[in-house]
Symmetry: C2
Subunit: 331 residues, 2 copies
């Protein structure tokens, strides 16, 4: 039998165990033109929370009682498609199933010799591309710029900081534990770190570390942390709006200080984006990221949870910040 | 004697008569290299409210008990500067005085044959340039785009809408009286108008007129009107953040719905700006605007108040929306 995880309820607020349900189905058989895939690594990401809501967005909402879908690295275990052979590894948006068939159209082969397989879900995959395009194409870093990254120890944030250093910027990371702050500075090469959970006055803490203002704010979290950064924004700054994990679980529209007076006063750009906006440039981005990885210019940090049955919990743990770097489930 | 208007108090909330004071000084005499200027037309603009606050911004705050300054068209009545002769007209950021001397460095001659003198404070001056650069350089209109303009009957908004029509866009204006809505449609060529004061559900009203979403939002007002527009924003939209008159009088940081989830979901750009960001392109912009004015492609609408003594009240009246188009005081 084949294990499958379906969406049991649309979460209200923070997702819970009971929002997910394990079911079984017969193990599928590939038809002509298809491959049989065995799931190896499953990416769990904050943006999936949005798809659990029944609401128009940049991608279709998940359907109730149907399997969830995320970035997955799978092994081809049987092939009736000339483009793939047994033992190939592929990357794609695939269902949370142990085994599934695929017609080969929306999966890409990945090379385990070029980068570790799980890195294709992280540093050289969507996560790395998100950091790369957001920072370079929207943030447009110039030598000497001060960059602040929120959610800095997360999958995207940790790569943003490292790309910031490659661009000769001063990089300040915001995260929620002293362990993460140590990690930012000692492993990812950030210049400074701020633990927002132990800092009373974030606005002042940022001002002390960025006395000339923040030129680029890469925002993964939204909410009060972002309010404090915006109070320190420099003239002509770029705010790369990548994520808002602090409000993804809100059922109502969250409220906060209005930003437009600050944007006008300082001629600030805010640009929301998702990585799909840069699809036409994915290949170049992946090449650049793989090169940096091989040259040890970026470090590939993962929190790996083992076991298909732990996928829902790994996803829920994202909202408590239990991951350092990319959260991945190894099946 | 020479009449002068100084800042008597920093306004708290809405500006009042008592925030301004009329004083007199001796009529100045030009030294060698200077001209004597007689004030003809005075521009009063919402952004002046910001300069009345004692707070770092993109321009210096006004000093207490010193003359206020704004865009002024003046006549050269005596010249000891070879670049200017008696009877020339000039444009510059000048003091609220009947007469003043100037060394000629920060004033520009204007040609009354190319455009009406007061238009240099409006359609072919800073106001027109604000509309032109904001819409074309940030909004980047494409044929068929739906543009929503708030403060649409104001000085900037009325020109934005007309430039939108020149770019073959569908233009919807938001204003606060039925007379203004009629003006938008009948004189400025807007396709649609919404009176926000008589509309219960702005979000629905915008949705009805822009069922495929708003591609460009030119925001002159901020606040709840903007909240309603953002609920209708299209994928890849550009929000040109030009003004926030709805909150300029607030003493505390105004609060409203957080925008970053909407920006991410729809890959929306928000860009705050002031016209000075485009200084290097002013000449090209002014030429384009003067050409459109001569070709009757843009209409030049003013509310002209007469009398030096009415400058403060004309400024205060901006916050009640008493102007249609550019508010100007003729001295």
């Amino acid at each position: 039998m084949n294990k499958v995880i379906v969406l049991n309820n649309r979460p209200e607020g923070r997702p819970e165990d009971s929002d997910f349900k394990f079911t079984e189905e017969e193990k599928p058989k590939p038809q002509n033109g298809e491959v049989l895939l065995k799931t190896k690594y499953v990416s769990v990401d904050p943006y999936l929370r949005g798809r659990m809501r029944d609401q128009k967005s940049y991608i279709e909402p998940f359907k109730l009682h149907e399997p969830l879908v995320s970035g997955i690295i799978a092994e081809v275990v049987e092939s009736k498609n000339d483009d793939f052979k047994e033992g190939d590894f592929v990357n794609g948006m695939l269902a949370w199933k142990e085994f599934q068939t695929n017609n080969g159209k929306n999966i890409q082969k990945v090379d385990p010799d070029q980068a570790p397989l799980s890195a294709y879900l992280g540093a050289v995959g969507m996560t790395g591309l998100t950091a790369y395009f957001g920072l370079t194409h929207i943030g447009k870093p110039k030598k000497g710029d001060t960059i602040v990254v929120s959610g800095a120890a997360g999958a995207v944030g940790s790569i943003v900081g490292q790309i910031g250093k490659i661009n000769d910027c001063r990089v300040i990371g915001i995260a929620g534990t002293d362990e993460k702050i140590a990690l930012l500075k000692e492993e990812f090469g950030f210049d400074e770190g701020i633990n927002y959970k132990t800092t009373d006055n974030m606005q002042e803490a940022i001002s002390n570390l960025a006395p000339d203002g923040v030129d680029i704010y890469f925002d993964n979290v939204g909410g009060e942390i972002s309010d404090a950064v915006l109070q320190n924004i420099a003239r002509g700054a770029r705010v790369v709006v990548c994520g808002a994990i602090s409000v993804y679980n809100n059922e109502k529209m969250p409220v906060g200080p209005r930003v437009t007076p600050i944007l006008i006063k300082n001629s600030v750009l805010m640009q929301g984006f998702t990585v799909g906006d840069f699809q036409s440039e994915f290949n170049n981005g992946m090449k650049q990221l793989a090169t940096w990885l091989q040259e040890d210019k970026i470090m590939h940090k993962e929190t790996i949870v083992k076991g298909f049955e732990n996928i829902p919990q790994a996803f829920i743990d994202l909202f408590d910040g239990k991951n350092s770097g990319k959260m991945i489930v190894e099946v």
